[in-house]
């Protein structure tokens, strides 16, 4: 239960971190909050020869509001996103962040760290997927933008290359009028890994038809899953509560969860169906009741 030996490099600024990643070869890991990586190293599931610490890079710790998105640097602490006034622009954050670990882990854990770790049951990857956030990554000699729906490839597996660093995330902000969102989760103990989670976000037109809709589930497969193929055909249409139950049903039939100690695959499907259906209904009712 002790980490294997490694060497430690504290990066002062982003270019320094990218240079270190470039020089140190493939056996190097970035460390931010370390709330997943340090336990994995303690259990020797990860044995990097080098750690590059990006915690003290100021430029990666900014949160600010842009015209149509919320910008977060990758090492913004989860607690800072939770308590930030600016992050209210995306109500899903306030709804989901209390479910991210415990206060002791949110005080260290970072937004980008959770995304790059890519646990399929984690909350922030689900929100990124549902909003199809834009993730900006850089290496020593290149930079690119990856949409969340292309970023998560499998459990603890993303499209990040070993020499790349996730630098910032742009979370789309939706229209505030006729808006509703809901995040729901079930876990054995609050703060533990989700058995299943669901998130839904909706914008209605003044006549009650759907202007924009996105929803997804976590813990139900190798990655968090959004369902654009189910939500897109509903744009411009009315949706009854029966139709929402049916929509949740169709979505869950597309998932392939696994069984584990805590829940069988069929239990997970029932649970996720209920959570998703409630999330859709909750978001829809909020959008109907609170036109701002």
């Amino acid at each position: 239960m002790k980490a294997a030996p490694f060497d430690y490099h504290l990066a002062d600024h982003l270019d320094h971190a990218l240079e270190l990643l470039d020089h140190l070869g493939n056996d190097v890991k970035l460390i931010a909050g370390g709330q997943s990586l340090v336990p994995m190293m303690a259990m020797r599931l990860a044995k990097p020869s080098h750690l590059v610490d990006i915690n003290r890079i100021q430029s990666l710790q900014q949160i600010n509001l842009q015209e149509k998105s919320l910008y977060t640097g990758s090492t913004v602490k989860q607690k800072d996103l939770e308590s930030s006034h600016i992050s209210q622009a995306i109500p899903l954050f306030k709804q989901a962040l209390p479910w991210v670990g415990h206060q002791q882990t949110r005080n260290r854990g970072t937004v980008g760290g959770s995304l790059a770790h890519a646990d399929p049951s984690a909350e922030l990857p689900l929100i990124a997927t549902v909003l199809n956030a834009s993730l900006h990554v850089q290496s020593h000699n290149s930079q690119r933008e990856i949409r969340a729906q292309d970023f998560f490839l499998g459990p603890m597996w993303t499209s990040l290359a070993p020499q790349e660093c996730l630098t910032d995330i742009h979370w789309p902000i939706w229209n505030k009028q006729f808006f509703g969102s809901r995040f729901l989760e079930t876990s054995i103990r609050h703060g533990d890994f989700a058995m299943a989670s669901a998130a839904a976000q909706i914008n209605l037109n003044p006549d009650g038809t759907i202007q924009q809709l996105s929803f997804g589930v976590g813990g139900m497969g190798a990655t968090p899953i959004a369902f654009p193929s189910l939500s897109q055909p509903l744009i411009g249409k009315h949706l009854s509560s029966e139709a929402m139950h049916e929509l949740a049903n169709q979505a869950i039939l597309l998932t392939e969860p696994t069984s584990d100690l805590h829940a069988s695959a069929s239990y997970r499907m029932n649970l996720a169906r209920t959570l998703l259906s409630r999330a859709l209904l909750g978001a829809f009712e909020q959008a109907q009741q609170h036109p701002q």
């Binding site: 239960m1 002790k2 980490a3 294997a4 030996p5 490694f6 060497d7 430690y8 056996d27 460390i31 370390g34 709330q35 340090v38 336990p39 303690a42 259990m43 020869s49 080098h50 750690l51 610490d53 915690n55 607690k79 209390p98 670990g101 415990h102 206060q103 002791q104 882990t105 005080n107 260290r108 103990r189 609050h190 703060g191």
Partner: protein, 165 residues
């Protein structure tokens, strides 16, 4: 395998500055216990589940098994030994733990005290929901948590004047 270096770190521990050499692989909780000999902080699961190793890092509760000592360089930490105002005394929250029987075996207690202290630093008179949320990341196998909640309510009640009495 990389060549293993040791590095000098300076941490403010319970108000005193400490400078030591560490290997990067040494976790903060091992540093606190083995190097500083402050064995009040307990090491339980060593992978961020039980909360027994909780300390205050720059005033915020964190799990000291989930970071390396070298990452705390230049920071300020408070361990359970630093909660009491003076040697031989107890803090209000520690006193309330005795009064309300909020511990039995005592293994979780340092982490519980840190979590509760962090709570009342932020919310001087928390309600039961806030207390349960604050200790949600700490496992206790003896008390069933009720006496811990009672202790925090007790500590925060007596510490403030109640206008109704």
């Amino acid at each position: 395998m990389a060549q293993i270096n040791s590095y000098t770190i300076t941490i403010e521990v319970n108000g005193q500055s400490v400078t030591k050499m560490v290997e990067p692989r040494i976790s903060l909780v091992d540093f606190i216990r083995e190097e500083l000999r402050l064995t009040g902080t307990h090491v339980g699961c060593e992978h961020g589940i039980c909360g027994a190793c909780s300390i205050l890092l720059n005033g915020d509760p964190v799990r000291s098994c989930c970071m390396f000592a070298i990452q705390a360089n230049g920071m300020r930490i408070t361990t359970v030994e630093g909660l009491a105002p003076e040697r031989g005394q107890l803090s209000k929250i520690q006193d309330a733990f005795c009064e309300k029987h909020a511990l039995q075996c005592g293994f979780c207690t340092p982490g519980m005290l840190i979590a509760c202290q962090a709570l009342i630093n932020k919310i001087p008179q928390p309600n039961e929901t806030q207390i349960r949320e604050a200790i949600g990341g700490n496992l206790c196998r003896c008390t069933g948590y009720q006496q811990i909640v009672d202790a925090v309510l007790f500590a925060t009640k007596i510490s403030s004047p109640n206008p109704e009495q």
